[in-house]
Amino acid sequence: MLRKVFTLFSVLIVLSMALSGCAGKAAAPTGEIVIAIGGDPSTLDPQQADDGNERTVNDNIYETLIARNPKTLELAPSLAESWKQLDATTWEIKVRKGVTFHNGEAFDAAAAAFSINRVVNPDFKSEQISFFSTIKEAKALDATTLQVMTDGADPTLPTRLYWLKMVPPKHAGDADFGTTPVGTGPYKFVEWARDDHVSLEANTAYWGGAPSIAKVRIRPIKEEVTRLAALQAGEVNLVKGLIPEYVSQVPVAASTEGLEFTWIRLNCLKGPLTDARLRLAINYAINREELAKSLYSGYAVPAEGQLLTPGHFGFNPKVKAYAFDLAKAKKLIADAGYAGEELEFIGESGRWLKDKELIEAVAGQLRAAGLNVKVNIVEWSAWLDLLFAGAEKAPTMQFSAHSNELLDADRTLSAIYHSKGSQAAYSNPEVDAAVDAARTETDLAKRADLYHKALQIAYDEAAIAPLLNLEDIYGMSKGLEWTPRRDGKILVFEMKFK
């Protein structure tokens, strides 16, 4: 009753206001695409922040030397035409001729060297530095030949360059560079109204051909329901990060396997889970298929027995997902002589899609197998402290999520599987040796073997409990043609209106 009265009341107020103006339908976009993302870019300097919102804008303005094939994720030429390793620590790269930045500055090997040296300079304080920590310096030999020197052998250099955007040397020195981006890419910067929109326009002189869509407007809309409403109202054409429940409500939905994994860190060094049988039991007791179906409406897939996808270099195809087997889990628990010790399961809430629900559901499945799991949802900063406190202070189990955008196993294995990793609570000298050796192994086949070996050992010992790989879901307006990329990049150049 109250609601009805109030609705009537609101209707009256709004109608009276609407009558005084000429309210009409939002115009259908013609040659302009409006994209809604979760937040405002931190900066538009492409080398400073580690921020997905910044990337969504700058991926359309800037380019890297090396790109990736949208389907296979294999490395592909972009501003570099070719690259080869001269010796353990030196790479030679041939850059594309005749490319200019939007402001007319020439892109050549010197500009590329400048871009690389800028981001690795410690005084620059780039948040992206962990992506490039092995790069020592770069220099231009001539207009098209670039040399990159690494600190020790680094076979992953090309994957790092896939993340390193090329900036114009002159303009990059200007104080307003962070608010007036200038790249070589298919779209030129027009305007940034903070927390409201960033506008771009097509670069008709783009070396890869003119884009099909003339204008781009990227809008930060923090609230998920509002993003959905904006798409339904026809105000935006593409929405990033749709939640599975909303899929049926959007004109067109598209999804792709993402790069983010949820997983549980098991403390293998202290407490009850030092017994590998219990860790295996945990892995067998989790019904990942069921979790993917019930919590994510199928927009998630069980993680393989490793935190990598087939697109990552070093992925071991033989390490499959732990199959759900309750009987086996119960037997392992009995064999381990588990007497009901409490297993503390630390989690957080709200950082990742349905994280708390997932934690509770997993805890329920583990309890069904006979494990005395106690869930403890803590505040984000407390969660972070526990994740990085080292194995001594690590809780028995901790929920987390991992994403490796460089698509090379080193980042994942160094952080999580190596005993010295910042998030590790597992130690095996053989795994450490393999990860260390792989970091400098320049023979790609041998390097892959080293990762395969490390991942197999970690799988057999159940070093961690991988959970699910969440899909990236996009909502689109009718008439927009686009296939989402597995690396999560939103490249308007790849889109067109029917």
Partner: protein, 306 residues
Amino acid sequence: MGPFILRRIVYSVAVVAGVSVFVFLITHMLGDPARMMLPLESSDAEVEAFRQSMGFNDPIYVQFWRFATNAVRGDFGDSLWQREPAMGLVMERLPKTLQLVAISTFLAVIISIPLGVLAALKPRSALDRVCTVSSLVGVSLPDFWLGLILILVFAVQFHLFYTSGYGTWKHLVLPSLTLAARPIGQITLITRSAMIDELSQQYMVTARSKGLAERVVVMRHALRNALIPIVTLSAWQIARLISGLTVAVETVFAWPGVGLLAIQAIQRRDLPLIQADVFVVAVVVTLVNLVLDVLYGLFDPRIRYD
């Protein structure tokens, strides 16, 4: 009047300073900002280097001294998130929040005072009941929820206004209405009860017996005397709107104001930005209070400032 205003200014400065110190202390007890800002995969060495470069390793009193000496000059440092002077980022958004608050307050006043007066003229009539019940609903509806319902009905269903964003009057309508709902409810109720009080006073009988028109009796005599509680409540509502109620509404409507900025600053543990945001909001709220204290005297000559 002069000494009174001076004293109030001194109090206001003390309040703003106290709030700033409090925010500094709270934000420095919230955990490690370096870990919050860097990717989860960063190594300990990278985090340590970042912490050092940001000055997070200095003792708390050194950090406080740096904060305090800069803050008096209005310099809160660069936002860690947007890498621009934090004060500038807040000032850029302040007019947008004030715009929203001004329109909402205007709506609240022009809608609720007539409603309250009408309801008071015929207590227990159908009109009175509708006003009272809808006011109660307006007061108790969560603005977050109300905002979403308004979006679904008026933007998605009927395409009358925009779902979100900033720019035209069509962007302004739904967030202002959402923000105005609670003040409308409260001011209607207080107007109604203050008017019922005044209308039952003896001087009303005198006024009517003098032969004054009913309109004059109600508007000039009763309403004028009822204004003190109404103004007090409206002022309090404005202060509440600025100091935090806009956070939810700006988030739902993607309105680029200080509330949305504050929530993003907090989520990113952007200490300079949180401090600048709270400082500016504290200044505005104390200013509003100051102005209203002065206005009281104009509405009611019985209020003296000595």
